[in-house]
Point group: C2
């Protein structure tokens, strides 16, 4: 059945939900001149160590063309370093730089506060339930 009102439309609901959540994080990122995607890339590099571009794009949920632009921006600010992979001139290896680690460390506490607040207001049980449903939806459609 088609959703009659847009509020019960799944694509719309997912869009609005994401907007609502990201609105909480955006000011923090904007204060440090980092976009949401740049932040995801930094986090992956921080947690996973040196990674090749393809894997980085996959882990950070960013498309290759976007990653190219993000790498340029982050490299320009010395948050990351970019090197060719030894043994394969096509591949590129990205590594987080000290300035990048510093930013991660600086923002993590604030990030924790925001996430905790969302979890507390929404409810731990409901959050787990929602994550389960989303995971199931992704599995089924992907």
């Amino acid at each position: 059945m088609l959703p009659e009102n847009t509020r019960r439309s799944l694509p719309m609901a997912l869009l609005h939900a994401r907007e609502a959540v990201m609105a909480r994080f955006r000011p923090m990122l904007a204060a440090h001149d980092v976009t949401e995607q740049q932040w995801r890339v930094l986090r992956v590099l921080s947690e996973a160590g040196p990674v090749e571009a393809t894997e980085l794009a996959d882990r950070a949920s960013v498309l290759p063309p976007s990653l190219t632009r993000i790498i340029k921006a982050l490299e320009g600010r010395k948050f990351i370093t970019r090197n060719k992979a030894e043994g394969d001139g096509r591949r590129v290896v990205l590594t987080i730089a000290p300035a990048g680690s510093t930013l991660i460390d600086a923002l993590s506490p604030e990030r924790r506060v925001i996430y905790d607040d969302i979890e507390q207001r929404f409810g731990h049980e409901k959050l787990e339930q929602l994550l389960d449903l989303l995971e199931s939806l992704i599995e089924g459609e992907g």
Copy 2:
């Protein structure tokens, strides 16, 4: 508590879920050279009749600057018409045109099939549950 793996991160999960769902609709829209946002605007105009720009942007979940661009594109293809409101030279009234209605009618059956398929694979119960949780999340954060 911070999500340790990105798969259990709420923003990520919402992003992926939306991606997964939209992937089903995108080919249909692309086949008719209509973007997702243009489609939302057309649907609102189709269901709600002539509407002013501000209300249209709100209903279609599109920001004003985006709406300006969308209006240009849709007007250029004669899918909608754009007129000044009588009595207030600032306001703009948008109306769906015959070509726009034709597109809506042409795509609605296909849209129904896709939506039904998602609901069947995911489960009616779970879909309702998911929509409830999303609505609750939006309420709490918005």
